[in-house]
Amino acid sequence: MIMLRALLFANGFGLLIGLLIIFMDKVINNYGEVAITINHDKEIRGDGGKTLLRILFESKYFIPSACGGKGTCGYCKLKVVEGGGTALPTEALMLTRSEIREQYRLACQLKVKENLQVEIPPEYLEIQEYEGMFSLSEQITEDIKRVRMQLITPETISYKPGQYVQVRIPTDDGFDFRAYSMSSNPDEQNEIELNIKLIPAGIGSSYLHAKQVGDPVEFSGPYGDFYLKTHSDREIICVAGGVGLAPLKSIVAYWVSHNLSRPIYLFYGARSLKDLYNHDYFTGIAETKPQFHYFPALSDPAPDWDGTTGFIHTVLDRELSTGIHGEAYLCGPPIMIDAVMAVLESKGIPKESILYDKF
């Protein structure tokens, strides 16, 4: 009897509180329709109470956002000319003081409650939405899958080697986006390739790992200023850690197909041989192209590995000559990037010639 009473009370209490919160959310958290003016020109409308990023996405304005709206990557900063108040303490970590003074905001943190005027940089306006179909899905290491997506509408995409796309991931309450770098050669414009590492309980990677050939997919892009600078004569130094190889493979493929004469170095660190994917592809290029220098290194190899052992920044330190006239492209986990940056600077490569993508 007393058990039953407790059970009934707990359920009733929970239900009451839940209903109260839903009611408050519907009534008070409802800001009606708001208008957003973009670049003093176009006006779009959306539901108030949502974030600026979400409203822009719904009207097909694509803003880079690698972290999926958590306010941790800082890519979605936009200048809000009018309305919206000043930056919240959560944004202050991602914006510089002068950016705050110039009224930059993180679109993912700004909850729209009134009409706004925003400025969107012209390169973002070129970002499009694509519908496609999976044309390949293969397991290449224990936790990394290579997926290829064939474009249906529009039929082609043009991007620079190193850029990324944001894939639309359905969720319980609508949709979300996750960013992945393209590993394909930009020359093949009707298909893109992504390398997806399975993160336990990660919504993007679990969704993409479960997809079969023939399944539909939607994504937007291309995004990012991490791409090969083609008007430069510096030697290209690529440093990849694990699945961070993806954008650098795109750079190498572009270098091969365009017969660039600038020497290129690829330093590629992985844990063991079975995590070292695309190994045969790179050794193949190294055999035919003397300008391509390939340095794979394993941090935790099996006993039969006869190549280099150790972390990639130590290999870089050993193999790269000081004073090299180079520019560097780094992609991998933050700790690797920091270690590699220190080595590159000690070799005399200026900071502005180092591009990186931490994830």
Binding site: A6, F9, A10, I21, Y31, G85, T86, L88, P89
Partner: protein, 192 residues
């Protein structure tokens, strides 16, 4: 017990942060910057007062009549979570300036042990409704006072050189201990 005495004691002699050492996570991690600390302090004061009163009502009009006193922990936490949630929505809508200063701290407070502690202490001490209100308010102000005081002291730490091995957290714990000694000096005046 006199309500003024409760207010005074809960601010100074029975300070929730310095004599019970509750709510330590934000007390140590957010006290680096006084501005942020005062935002958190305001949020804690507000939530503490409201949840203590709400939990008193739930406890005396629902739990005790139904003989479900043993469900206090569970029910108090649910009430606190709901109040914080609703408070965030309401403040965001009607008091944008307040939201700007402490809105983002509200969700953090849901799991703050000082808040739950106040609700449990008010039951232990069998306070009435008015007493509970002043106890919640006083404890909130006391926590506010403690965090901005330690924030002010920590700001001056850059001028001194504490042993490096203490780290930032270690020296903060020692400062909190010294502050607790000072607060105990009030015990002769009034105590709960």
């Amino acid at each position: 017990m006199n309500i003024l005495l409760i207010l005074f004691a809960s601010i100074l002699t029975s300070n929730i942060a310095l004599t019970y050492f509750l709510g330590m996570c934000p007390f140590v991690s957010i006290s680096k910057n006084i501005q942020v600390a005062s935002g958190m302090g305001m949020a804690v004061t507000m939530v503490m007062t409201l949840t203590a009163v709400a939990n008193w009502l739930v406890n005396n009009y629902v739990l005790i009549p139904l003989g479900l006193g043993y469900m206090q922990f569970l029910v108090f936490i649910v009430t606190i979570a709901a109040i914080v949630q609703i408070l965030e929505i309401v403040i965001d809508r009607f008091f944008p300036a307040l939201y700007q200063s402490f809105g983002i701290f509200l969700p953090l407070i849901t799991v703050n042990c000082a808040i739950l502690g106040i609700s449990l202490f008010m039951v232990l001490r069998s306070f009435g409704l008015l007493q509970t209100f002043f106890y919640g308010l006083g404890s909130g102000i006391g926590w506010f006072l403690a965090i901005i005081t330690i924030g002010g002291i920590r700001k001056r730490l850059i001028f001194s050189k504490p042993p490096r091995r203490f780290g930032e957290t270690g020296i903060t714990a020692i400062i909190a201990g010294l502050m607790a000694l000072a607060f105990i000096g009030f015990t002769g005046v009034a105590s709960l």
